[in-house]
Amino acid sequence: MRPFTYARPDAAADAVATLAADPDARFLAGGTNLLDHLKLGVVEPTQLVDVTGITSTEITELDDGGLRIGAGVPNSDLAADPRVRERYPAVAAAILAGASGQLRNMASTGGNLLQRTRCAYFADPTTPCTKRDLSQGCSARGGWARYHAILGASEHCIATHPSDLAVALVALDAQVQVLGADGARTIPIAAFHRLPGDDPTRDTVLAHGDLVTAVDLPAPTPAVANSTYRKVRDRASYAFALVSAAVALEVREGTVVDVRIALGGVAHKPWRATTAEAALRGRPATDDEFRAAIAAELEAAEPVESPLGGNAYKIPLVTGTVVSTLRGLAGGVA
């Protein structure tokens, strides 16, 4: 591991200024992703700025009926908060579906959103990876691509975003509060993570030194109160998603009045299934309608073929996951 210095500033503005002035500095929160990458040599910062003392660990009520989650709130505390469990069940369910008890105790809300892809080549500096270094190629195309994207990928990168929490936040239209060198700003979560395009080195729209200070959940709607998270993985626990879905649904007299669907494990960012949502609004809450809606969304899918394992299996897997989750929320057997 390359040597680095360690700083623990008392003020968020100091942390932001330190990073803004030093391209080789990184924020440290729970360390569960960063420490792994330091050991692997995926990132080699010369300075770590510990943000655990300057990011809030509180969950507070907003005037509009929503909740503000401090960036320092541990994942386990967020999932256990009675208000979150009752008003935003998809958020609690998404966190609980990820990692392990120990990791959720350590991981922060901010760090969770900023975690990097689990693409095996990204984590292995001996293999080419455009996300690590723009001058290299992508080893996953034609390589081990089972976990990779079917939507919104580019020729440069087919990685998926690994966060479960982020998928639920996208379904619920959360807002990310950010402090940058030029002051504070708010970024809608759907615009926070990027598609790879021609610069896969950037996972989010944040500039170097931008500090996530909080995540705001909007006041719950009836659909959000009737929301959940379904994750499909290679084993029952302690594994990243093959595919996942955060779904919120309100049905009145058999008709879909409100629906939100966000997909995990399919793209470089949590994928809001707006085509499927539009197809369902005002339609009968039946399996046939659910199936047609997700089929419309997946028309744009481009599975990757590879001798080492492709990902075409994700199309039927996403379809079944979304249909059965919608059916469960509509009162049927999930």
Binding site: M1, P3, F4, T5, Y6, R8, L28, G30, G31, T32, L35, D36, L38, K39, L40, L48, D50, T52, S76, A79, A80, P82, R85, E86, P89, A92, A93, L96, A97, A99, S100, G101, Q102, L103, N105, M106, A236, S237, Y238
Partner: protein, 170 residues
């Protein structure tokens, strides 16, 4: 040249002052600097749970924790769970249920179980909790889910679940 940083840490009730290279993990500080080898290194990447300790009362992975970030913290390893020469109820239950084979994962399993039982008592839900808004009962499926971050290469899982079940219902 790396500069070291002075820090202190209390492990199993005993305070230690040391200078650490900022790169030192809590796990390496325990094992290599303080000679406390109860806590085991399996993967060193957060994937196996062998290095689990209780940090200020919560179960965490010491291999993904920087020592320097935990200045002043209280760490309890599987060794420090005993009080006045009496084994902790979880440790007792591991013995009574033969919940290990080689024993390498055991200190991490025991610390994790202590943390998991405490989390359930505080009402924290898990992925298999049927009603997220209701209280938690630690049945076998809850225990298996809550202990999933601790791998056992000897696959002593069945008896580990029994041990945790027994300790939880004392």
């Amino acid at each position: 040249m790396t500069t070291t940083i002075p820090m202190s840490i209390t492990v199993d009730g005993e305070r230690h002052d040391l200078d650490v290279d900022p790169r030192t993990t809590l796990l390496d500080a325990l094992r290599e600097r303080l000679g406390i080898t109860t806590t085991k290194k399996g993967c060193d990447h957060g994937q196996c749970g062998a290095c689990t300790v209780l940090l200020d009362g919560r179960r965490v992975l010491s291999c993904l924790t920087l020592a320097v970030a935990k200045d002043g913290a209280h760490v309890v390893t599987a060794d420090g769970l005993a009080t006045d020469g009496e084994l902790h109820p979880v440790t007792e239950a591991f013995l009574a249920n033969d919940a290990y084979q080689c024993g390498y994962c055991t200190p991490g399993q025991i610390c994790s179980a202590v943390g998991a039982i405490d989390e359930a008592r505080r009402g924290m839900p898990s992925a298999v909790t049927a009603d997220l808004a209701a209280d938690v009962t630690l049945d076998r499926s809850e225990i298996a889910e809550r202990m999933s971050g601790n791998l056992c290469r000897c696959a002593a899982y069945v008896n580990i679940v029994s041990a945790v079940e027994e300790a939880a219902h004392r």
